[in-house]
């Protein structure tokens, strides 16, 4: 089967990609700007074709706990929401991380805090990359910057989730969720019928019972488990860092931006170059693990880095940690659903260059 070219919204691309990736289940609850994911799946009704379960839960809390139950059976399960709903899911997410289960969580971010706005923002970076719920854990976080990547990261996300038995988050935003672009979709994959050795699927005589839990009342064992998790995150930092670079070879100043911000930084880059400023761009694709090493290398060559985010300044902290004082770092951002213009970004770069 061939790939198929379609014109779709980012949210629809996620839904269609989930069906085609052979997902076993999706559990969701409506919230703007991502309700199209659940709507699309309900209309597509994959239960009748691939057998994929799609369920509208009574809350985000229930939805993520359904994901927990399904993931504990070794199934390819996912949920999606937007910021306020993702806050509610944090309980389930920390249990899933603590029980070392694979799953995919999509956050189509809107501005906050609180009910905030339904317009796009990147203000959930801390929540996504530093754990989000209680306890020491990380999600593996993918940041798409196009509708194509919305689709591609579904399958990639599932693969990484099962490889590490760790929840994976696609951290998108309302702009990418709502915009329409061309997207190449993979052919339909068959759902896996494999029974995973650790999954709770009913105990045959051939193995001891499987228990999926995040509880250990023995502190020494719990600490060992914490160390095991840390080793897993270190392995991700070794093997899974993904980023993209634009005109970094001769860059004197570097934009750092992901998702929607990376798109407008690309335009800002052209404007800056036209004015004779040697600008470059590093677009982190994985936000955890963060491209620390590469930024540290680039810090030896550039005169400064401008972290562009639709937030009060969150990713900029990771940029600072990465360069560890080797070069100047500044944040430029808009909030509340405002998207900076490339011109604004260039003006800011110029004032940054002045010092």
């Amino acid at each position: 089967m061939e790939k198929e070219l379609k014109l779709m919204k980012g949210n629809e691309a996620i839904a269609e990609a989930a069906i085609r990736a052979g997902a076993d289940g999706y559990f969701g609850y409506p919230i703007t700007p991502q309700s199209e994911i659940l709507e699309y799946l309900m209309e597509a009704n994959p239960q009748a074709t691939t057998g994929m379960v799609v369920l509208q839960a009574e809350s985000e809390v229930a939805a993520i706990n359904m994901v927990y139950g399904g993931a504990a059976c070794g199934k390819k399960v996912m949920t999606s929401s937007s910021s306020p709903g993702i806050s509610l899911k944090q309980e389930g997410i920390t249990y899933i991380a603590g029980a070392e289960l694979p799953c995919l969580i999509v956050n189509v971010v809107r501005g906050g805090p609180g009910l905030g706005t339904i317009q796009p923002a990147q203000s959930d970076y801390f929540q996504a990359t530093k754990g989000g719920g209680h306890g020491d854990y990380h999600l593996l976080v993918l940041a798409p910057s196009s509708v194509q990547e919305m689709a591609d990261f579904v399958e990639l996300g599932f693969d990484l989730a099962f490889k590490y038995r760790n929840p994976v988050m696609i951290l998108s935003d309302g702009a990418i969720g709502q915009m329409m672009e061309k997207v190449w979709l993979n052919p339909q994959k068959k759902r896996s019928e494999e029974i995973l050795p650790w999954a709770t699927t009913g105990k045959p005589a051939s193995r001891p019972r499987n228990i999926i839990t995040s509880l250990d009342l023995d502190s020494e064992r719990q600490e060992k488990f914490n160390l095991k998790l840390i080793a897993k995150y270190r392995e991700m930092e070794e093997k899974e860092v993904r980023y993209e670079e634009f005109m970094t070879e001769d860059a004197e100043y570097l934009f750092v931006g992901y998702g929607t911000s990376a798109r407008l930084c690309q335009k800002a880059l052209q404007l800056a170059r036209a004015e004779g400023i040697k600008a470059g761009l590093l677009r982190p694709i994985t936000l955890f693990p963060f491209p620390k090493k590469r930024l540290n290398e680039l810090a030896d060559r550039v005169k400064g880095m401008l972290a562009v985010e639709m937030s009060a300044g969150q990713m900029v902290e990771d940029v600072m940690l990465s360069v560890n004082g080797k070069t100047r770092v500044r944040h430029y951002g808009r909030m509340g659903g405002m998207i900076p213009t490339p011109e604004e970004v260039v003006e800011n770069l110029k004032s940054f260059i002045k010092g």
Binding site: D24, G25, F27, V53, L55, A57, E58, S59, V61, A62, A63, N65, M66, V67, Y68, G69, G70, A72, C73, K75, V77, E91, G92, Y95, A99, T200, T201, G202, K203, P204, A205, R209, N210, I211, I212, T213, S214, L215
Partner: protein, 258 residues
């Protein structure tokens, strides 16, 4: 006739009650006289008698029975507090031929997990919910539960539950019996041999109904918490019969049409 010795009594053929093969040898952490252990044994017997081990997935709650997975030899998932029915929903939808049950206390099911309980029952998920109602938060040290009786003392209602401030106890079985999604709702007890037999019968019906995909089965067990109630096991059973049973009458609330 020769006198019966201790060694005669413990011969397998003379034992009226044996440990179910599905009960593990792990030492139980329950307090002496607690109903949880008896309910586990009855459940294990039914799973064994119905030959369900290889297709059972159990969901444990947060509460005294959080470690239930140490005692019954089937696959288990340990849920967050109150969320067991959400996990069970997904397990059953993704693996419809498995036998899926949750086992939950009254704090778990009737307070923090009320939404999950009601909506799971309302969707008529083909699962069994076993609800151990001991009128108190046993695990955390005997605080008031939504099911605590009017006037009943607990760590957080030291002067007795004042219904004008705290509302009246919630009768969850009555609530879920009203929902079209439930097919079988019953209230049982495990403090006597007769009670255990009836509880086992109810469990077997629930197995049958789940096999027939009839909807949610909800079995409440009105139980005790000697430690939380600050009573001896014998006193707690007497108190339960005199106070809990009149408020939570035993028997079927809803049975499916044949």
């Amino acid at each position: 006739m020769a006198e019966i010795t201790f060694n005669d009594i413990i011969k397998p053929e003379n034992l009226a009650y044996t440990k179910s093969k599905l009960m593990t040898d792990n030492v139980m952490h329950y307090c002496p006289g607690c109903g949880h252990g008896t309910a586990h044994q009855a459940l294990a017997e039914v799973l064994e008698e119905e030959n369900l081990q290889s297709r059972t997935v159990g969901i444990t709650p947060v509460g005294c029975s959080v470690l239930m997975y140490n005692y019954i030899d089937v696959d288990f998932q340990e849920a967050a507090h109150g969320r067991a029915p959400a996990l069970a929903t997904a397990v059953k939808r993704l693996m419809p031929d498995r036998f899926v049950f949750t086992y939950q206390g009254d704090g778990d099911l009737a307070a923090i997990g009320t939404a999950e309980t009601i909506h799971t029952c309302n969707r008529g998920e083909n699962i069994l919910i076993v609800f151990i109602n001991n009128g108190i938060y046993g695990m955390t040290g005997g605080q008031m539960a939504p099911t605590t009786l009017p006037g009943m003392k607990s760590a957080t209602s030291p002067y007795g539950r004042d219904v004008s401030l705290m509302g009246s106890p919630i009768k969850m079985a009555d609530i879920v019996a009203m929902l079209p999604g439930t097919c079988y709702v019953t209230r049982q007890s495990v403090n006597t041999a007769g009670g255990v037999r009836k509880f086992k019968k109810a469990l077997k019906k629930a197995v049958q109904y789940q096999n027939e995909k009839r909807g949610t089965c909800f079995i409440e067990v009105v139980s005790n918490c000697p430690s939380g109630w600050k009573m001896t096991p014998v006193e707690s059973n007497k108190w339960m019969e005199e106070n809990m049973f009149p408020f939570y009458p035993l028997g079927d609330l809803k049975v499916p049409a044949e």
